[in-house]
């Protein structure tokens, strides 16, 4: 018993010794700049923190309580908007990406043009994209959207101050999110489509399956794991929305277009309420972790039942 424990220890130490040269540099950096800050953030969220004086006084859950019970309801609007963002962007991103990928994959010529074209918004920085959208959604007749909808198409009677109203502001943020991410989904779907063996389609054709039948029973089935991957990524991404809000609406009017990350930023860097900011960050972190775990559980169950296509 003792000898075996000793052997186990020896083996463990040997493993560590072999692994250290590889793992250590990363571990030090992650420890210092990621893990330690996380613990520190938890501490700040439970304290009154004065950054200039360097004072940190434990106050329990006060920060959480004041965030959650803020009479303006800003936290709840922001929280709601994160979920709405996921609901209104993710389906469009997934279906758009899938359809574009399917069409591009069936092209005989010009695949590259469309692949690069749809991917351009993805590699364009959020700052640039937000600047363009700010101008396009300008309040007056000077903005492209108002000009086209009112002066050209006469669909609306009056100019809409898009970015100053709750729902049109949110819609602009969603639209930008869809436009920016469809190309990403397209690229991932395209890679997945190209890895589907051709024999499958040929066999199905021989069995008399038409275009639709092949699409439904082969393409959709083979894309399932990829779809889940994109879904999970995009839902997590929905809780990281930030620059769009900072640059398009600043959460106006009254935080109705805000999201958690923007609220965190505003609390920390405009109001210097680091305690409340950290509390918001932790609430959103917990939400993301819970969502990820739940999604993984749900989706994994599904793939196992279907025989695990991947």
């Amino acid at each position: 018993m003792k000898a075996s424990t000793k052997r186990k220890w020896k083996k463990g130490a040997k493993g560590w010794l072999a692994a250290l040269p590889f793992v250590l540099p990363g571990l030090v950096l992650v420890g210092l700049f990621v893990l330690y800050p996380m613990i520190f953030t938890i501490r700040i969220s439970l304290s009154e923190y004065k950054i200039v004086q360097g004072q940190i006084n434990f106050i329990g859950l006060d920060n959480y309580i004041s965030v959650l019970t803020d009479p303006s309801g800003r936290f709840w609007y922001a929280y709601r908007n994160n979920f709405l963002y996921a609901i209104f962007t993710v389906p469009f991103i997934i279906f758009g990406g899938m359809i574009f990928a399917y069409l591009i994959n069936n092209l005989k010529r010009g695949k590259t043009i469309f692949k690069v074209g749809f991917y351009l918004p993805v590699i364009t920085s959020w700052v640039i994209v937000s600047l363009v959208f700010t101008y396009m959604f300008n309040n007056s007749d000077r903005g492209l959207i108002n000009y086209i909808l009112v002066d050209k198409l006469h669909l609306l009677d009056d100019y809409v101050p898009w970015l100053l109203r709750e729902w049109s502001g949110n819609a602009a943020i969603w639209l930008m999110g869809i436009w920016k991410n469809v190309g990403w989904a397209m690229l991932i779907f395209l890679a997945a489509l190209q890895s589907i063996p051709r024999d499958l389609y040929e066999a199905a054709s021989l069995d008399g399956a038409g275009v639709w039948g092949r699409f439904r029973h082969i393409t959709i089935a083979c894309l399932k794991p990829t779809t889940f991957y994109i879904l999970v990524n995009m839902i997590i991404g929905s809780f990281n929305v930030f620059i769009q809000v900072l640059m398009l609406t600043q959460g106006n009017p009254n935080g109705r277009t805000s999201v958690l990350q923007y609220l965190l930023y505003d609390k920390a860097f405009n109001q210097f309420q680091f305690g409340e900011a950290s509390a918001i960050g932790l609430i959103s972190a917990v939400t993301i972790v819970v969502l990820t775990v739940v999604l993984n559980k749900l989706l994994k169950l599904d793939t196992v039942e279907k025989g695990g296509a991947d």
Binding site: G26, F33, I44, Y119, M136, V182, T226, I243, Q261
Partner: protein, 293 residues
Amino acid sequence: MKRKLRGKKAGEVVAQIVIWTILVTALLIFSVPFLFMITNSFEEFSYVLPYPPKLFPTRLDFSAYTYVLSLPLFPTAVKNSVINTGITVVISVFISTLSAYGFARIDFPGRETLFKLYLFTLMVPSFLNIIPQFIILKGMHLPWSDESLIGTRAGLILVYVATNVCGHTFFLRNFFRGLPDALSESVIVDGGGHGTIFFKVMLPLSKPAIGTMSIFALQGFWEEYFTAKVLVGANEDMITLPLLLQRLHGQYSTRWEWVFAASILALIPVIVLFIIFQRKLVIGGLTQGSVKE
């Protein structure tokens, strides 16, 4: 039989035309923001925005570009963005490749737990940590200077690298695990250790994966705004392109031609890079074709 074949061919041509039409229409709609940006970078704005807003260019005037290029801060921003992005990508990819190998190929106690911890950090919103990171950098200084790392390139790169180790390690570990054991076993038979396996076997085989990751990382660091704003935003010498864009917009809210010209200039390298490497990016089926058994 022959007629049937011809019918099939005609059907295919029609299908191709339909697909082209749909894709071209979609791409045109998708290009509107770009078109708007390009068109307006050729305009000359005054204190009020012009009416009507222009979607298609009516003139070809590069004075906004020459203005942006003549800004004293522009070369500084380009220099900083290039240096920061370059150094960060090299260091972060190297450290992550090492880590990924350790997690994928060496058995040590606590490996899975540690890796799960890495995964966990990926789910936490990245800039939740910015306040502690700021404080840590404030307490650090280079051996030859008394100044803190706030407002320095070293500090920014340190945070960039550290916050990307987990994600990159995760990506590459999956790749390393997909490589067959036979490869490393042959090295061990020849008396080589993990160092030999890593440099002689794994690195050459993972070039496509490492390349793909580097391209994505490059683009991410090139456009990074928030961390740079917090950590070096107060030091004008350390300004980066995204910071410069935001500043241009803030200072001259109606001079969109400058903002857009600068945006396009910042965008060109990324687009060129993507067009060059898009064929080589490995996204799915990372391990296909590395070894035939």
